[in-house]
Structure formats: structure tokens, C-alpha cells
């Protein structure tokens, strides 16, 4: 993490009230993000990665609710901000790209209308300037500006995703949150979109939090990776190191589950069993039941995050390493007391 820290997430937790009890979808997640950094948040379905992303952007809808923690962005705690204050900051400094542009674009108004919508909402009244900027960002992502007049259902899958990225660039924000923007695309279109996003980041200098379930996709594009399991971040590490030598057993299991095209064809086990029910989390480590290296203690003691050279690992195997102070003031083991 080289540059100035622009985002600090401390002990962020999100609860889902459901008929089967309150599910702890995101549990005490903490990390920092530098400017121009590409952080990938990886995990399988139900691990809380998208909930974390929308919690940071304050876009959760009931029954999901932020139940604790702070999100410090450009000097303000977004969790505590009033809606009014938040509105001036939205899209100007922090914008969002979603998984399926088909649902994320308003089906009844044209692409151009949705661009001018947001620019007018942020005080840009002059129609000519709005049109010029809209055409500029569309050309940046390789779409013919004539499509400002077309509707979402008239564009191809790849073009819709690019239009959404263009919209996110309107005010060239400091940070763009991306929720699996390429998972609906075929592999060739996916690769070309990732290359373009990386190129735009180099040119415009915004930071990215990129949520995906496909670990191999971010291998070549991200600076750092945070692996999530059952609502907790289990390992955070620079990408090259994480792929070369994964520390947490779940990360290792996940990496092994990706068969490779090259190299010998060996039998892979994947990870037996299935993720725990978030309304009835086990006392100890959430991964204990499926972990090949589980020790008896794992079933009772909840692991904290331990600093092991450049990685933060939430696993008792690395307990002898110094327990990392959570950036917030609360001691790490507070969660154990709360259960």
C-alpha cells in the first residue's frame, strides 16, 4: 500500500433480520485502501462480499442493516453521516458498478438521460456541458456516443457493462466499488473489459474495490486480495504472494479448486461440506468443520487476525505471530466475549 489512505473500514458488521433469526452477514471486517489501489474481495456465494460492498456505500436495504463499525472516507464516517450530507458525496467521490447492467440501468429511460440525471443532481445544469462529458466518458470506454439515445435493452451484454462503467467515471471519482461487473460476460469479453478497467485506472487514478467469486479472474489485475468466508475476512494479502503461497486453509482449498489448463492432471478434492448457517454460527472458527488442518481448539476459540509478514490471517495456526491490533480501538478478542 503505497499512496495516501483514502478509505478506512473498522469493525464493520451487518445483520440480516430474517424469519430464522438474525444472520450475521458481515462480522467485524477491517481494512484500509490506498489511492489508486485495486483491492479484490473474493469469496463464494453467501460469504457476505456484496453485502460488505453495499454496506460501505451505505446502499443496504431492509432487512439488511449496519450493526456496528466505522467507514472513514475523505475524512467523514459514512456510517454516521446524514442522508443529505451523503448525497453530495455520492458519485462525485464514490461510484458503484453493478453485476448486471440489464437490471442496474433504468429500463424506461435512455442511457443519455440517466447520465444527465446524475450530473444535474450534482449541480451541472448546462445541457451542452452534460452532453460533452457524457460523450467523452462513452468514447473512453469504447462505445459510439450515438448510443446516448438508445435504451438498455438495445445494447449487447458487453456494451451495457461498459456504459455502466462510463457512468461511474462521470465525475472521475476517487473510489469505484465494483460488484462482479464481468461475471455475466463470456471469457473473451470478460478479459477485454478487465484490461480496459485496468487501463482506465492507470489513466484516471481511481481506487477500486472489486468483488468476485472467481479468484483466478483477479490474479493478474489486483494489487491486494481479501478472501471472505461466512461473513469474516479470513486472509488479506498482496496478490502475487497470496497465489504463490496461500496461508489460510480455506484460501488454499479455494485455490486448489481451480483446475488449471496447464501442468499435470491430478485429482483435486475441493472443499467438502458446505458453509455454516449464518443465523447459527459455531462458537470457534467458522471454517473449523470443513478445515483439513483443524485443531481441537479451533472448535472453541475464535481466531483473531494475525500479522504474518505482509498478510493478515484469521487462523489459530498462526497464533504465535503478533496479534494485529484492529485499526479501531476495540481489542480484537471482543467478538469472542460477545458470543
Amino acid at each position: 500500500m503505497t499512496g495516501k489512505v483514502i478509505l478506512e473500514v473498522e469493525g464493520l458488521s451487518v445483520d440480516y433480520a430474517s424469519s430464522a433469526g438474525t444472520a450475521n452477514a458481515v462480522d467485524q471486517v477491517s481494512f484500509e485502501l490506498a489511492e489508486r489501489e485495486f483491492l479484490a474481495v473474493v469469496g463464494e456465494s453467501g460469504c457476505g462480499k456484496s453485502t460488505l460492498l453495499f454496506a460501505i456505500a451505505r446502499l443496504l436495504t431492509p432487512p439488511a442493516e449496519v450493526s456496528g463499525g466505522k467507514v472513514l472516507f475523505s475524512g467523514q464516517n459514512m456510517v454516521a453521516m446524514s442522508d443529505k450530507a451523503l448525497r453530495t458525496l455520492r458519485w462525485r467521490d464514490l461510484s458503484v458498478v453493478m453485476q448486471s447492467a440489464m437490471n442496474a440501468l433504468n429500463p424506461v429511460s435512455s442511457i443519455g438521460a440517466q447520465f444527465s440525471d446524475v450530473m444535474r443532481a450534482h449541480g451541472e445544469k448546462d445541457q451542452k456541458a452534460v452532453r460533452a462529458r457524457s460523450e467523452e466518458v462513452l468514447t473512453m470506454v469504447g462505445i459510439d456516443p450515438v448510443h446516448l439515445a438508445s435504451y438498455a435493452h438495445q445494447l449487447s451484454g458487453g456494451m451495457r457493462q461498459r456504459a455502466m462503467i462510463a457512468m461511474a467515471l462521470l465525475f472521475s471519482p476517487e473510489l469505484i466499488l465494483m460488484d462482479e461487473p464481468t461475471s455475466a460476460l463470456d471469457v473473451v469479453a470478460q478479459r477485454s473489459l478487465m484490461v480496459q478497467v485496468k487501463q482506465l485506472q492507470a489513466d484516471l487514478g481511481f481506487a477500486i474495490i472489486f468483488v468476485t467469486h472467481d479468484m483466478s479472474l483477479v490474479a493478474h489485475f489486483s494489487d491486494r486480495v481479501a478472501v471472505m468466508y461466512a461473513g469474516q475476512v479470513v486472509e488479506t494479502r498482496p496478490t502475487r504472494a497470496l497465489f504463490a503461497d496461500p496461508l489460510h486453509p480455506y484460501t488454499r482449498g479455494l485455490l486448489d479448486s481451480f483446475p488449471s489448463i496447464y501442468g499435470p492432471r491430478s485429482l483435486v478434492q475441493g472443499i467438502p461440506g458446505s458453509p455454516p448457517d449464518l443465523t447459527r454460527l459455531p462458537p470457534g472458527c467458522n471454517f473449523a468443520a470443513r478445515c483439513p488442518k483443524a485443531m481441537p481448539r479451533c472448535a472453541t476459540d475464535a481466531p483473531a487476525q494475525y500479522l504474518v509478514d505482509d498478510a493478515l490471517v484469521r487462523c489459530l495456526l498462526y497464533e504465535e505471530a503478533a496479534p494485529a491490533r484492529e485499526p479501531g480501538d476495540r481489542p480484537v478478542t471482543e467478538r469472542a466475549a460477545r458470543d
Partner: protein
Amino acid sequence: MRYVLRRLGFFVATLWACLTINFVLPRFMPGNPAVAMMDRFKGRVSGQALGALEIAFGVNNNESAIRQYFTYFGNTFTGHWGLSLTFFPDQVSHVVFSALPWTIGLVGVTTVLAFIAGTLVGMLSAWRRGGLLDSVFPPLFVIVSAFPYFFLALMGLLLFNVTLHWVPLGFGYSNTDTPGLDWHYIGDVLYHAILPATVILVTSVGGWVLTMRNNMISTLSEDYVRMARAKGLSPARIMFAYAGRNAVLPNLTGFAMSLGFVVSGAILVEYVFSYPGVGYILLSAVENEDYALMQTLFLFITVAVLIAILAMDFVTMALDPRARTQG
């Protein structure tokens, strides 16, 4: 473009079906009511009008059913709808055209008001889930919209007329008045229309609130509403331009489709208030077995609904580009 053709096709098909029902019913119902009615006309009507009626009911003339069918079509489209028994010797067309403005005024205006009010209340109650609007109104409307129209009409009469004397017993205007475009007469008409209009409004608005609320709740969970919030748009803009506009679309076709239901209710309200609209005339035509008038009124009510549906289709086309482009 194909969307327009399809809707026009539907308009024609329904009109044709309605005409066919009108043509077929009197002939095949048990006891052949058409013949019975004709005998009552025999003594009191001239040859030419009698001829038109005979064709309309295919009574004792030798043409084949198919020819009668087409002559009936011819007559319907050229305005020869025969004589009315109830308002003898008035032409049916005269009776209908004098009753139509009353119904359009009462039912038409109230239904549009109910639709607009219902959609707005539905939108607001979905927007502020759990608020006063959302927890009180829906169950209340569920029960009120289950009440029969005429029951509310009776209760309204009982409360506001019999006990409170605020509102006249019924009819379109007090008989001391002479119809004309002066303010006094118009005031009187409105004064008479208050209670019937309120009854129709109260019973039909519930339906719109519930359907709009359901649509709005599902639209609010869509990604593009979350995107609109992420873009920092004002709550009002999000509620109207993003959530509202998408939620109202299914309601538009729903509105047109259920107009038939609202008109049915209004007929009974007119009956209770003896309000001189199409509904009341239809019921009195039924009592006097005046089949010529009855058929034409039934035709007119259906045509009115069809025109409303066509209008709604064009409104939907204007609001929903997918209907425009995909065709």
C-alpha cells in the same frame, strides 16, 4: 409498430365478439324473449321501425341467419338501433346519447380520480414502508374494496340523506331546475353527484392502492433503484422517475382491463341513487324487457371500455420504450 397493430386487432376482435353476443343471445335463450317483445310492439309501431326491430332480433322474417347477421351489423353501424319500449316512442339512439354524458361525467371522472389517487397513495405507502400509510391503509382498503358498491351507496344515503340531510336523495338534478349551461344548474348537478361519486371513489381506490403498492415494493428492490440512490439523486426523483414510473406500467394495463369491473359497480350506484346514467337506464330497460335499448347500452358500455383500453395502450407506449422499440 407491431404493438399498435396488435392492440387495434384486439379492439376489433372484442367489438366483434360483443356484437355477436348481442346478436346470438336473444335468439337462443330459452323461451325466445325476442318474439314475446315483438308482440308488444306490434300494435303501437309503424312498418319501417318495426322492420328494423325485426332485423335486430331476427324475428319471423325469412332471411337466413347469416344474412340477418350482416344486416344487423349494417344497422348497428348506421345508427338504426330501433325504438325504445321504456321511453316509447323515443329512438334508442336518442335515449342512449342523453344518458351517456351523465355516466361519463360520474363514472369516467371518478374512476380516473380514483386511479390517480390510488396510484399516488400506493406509491407513498410503499416508499415509506412501515409508516402510517403503509400499516393503516392497505388492510383498511382490503376490507372496503370487498364491500359491494350498492351497500356503501345505501349506507351513504342512510347517513348523509336520511339522517344528516346534507345530500339530496338521488337523481341528477332537482326537478325544479331546467337543464342549461348556467352556473346554477351546474352547481346543482355537482351537488347531486357528490355522494355517488364518493361511493365509487371509496370502493375503487382501494384496488389501485393495493396493486400499486405491490408493484412498487417489487420495483424498489430492483438494482436500478439502488443505483439511483448510489448516484445521489433526490428521494423525490428516485420515487417518481425510477421506481414510480416502472411500477405504474403494469397498473396501466390493469386499469384498462378492470374498467369493466368498475363500470359494473357504477351501474348499481346509479340504480341506488336513480342517477340518470347509462347504468340506471340499462336496469330500467331490463325491467321493461326493452331488449333493443338493453343491447345498445351493453354495446356502448363495452365500446367505452375498449376506447379506454386503447387510450391506456398508447399511454403505455409513451411511457415504456420497450413496447415501442421491440414492437
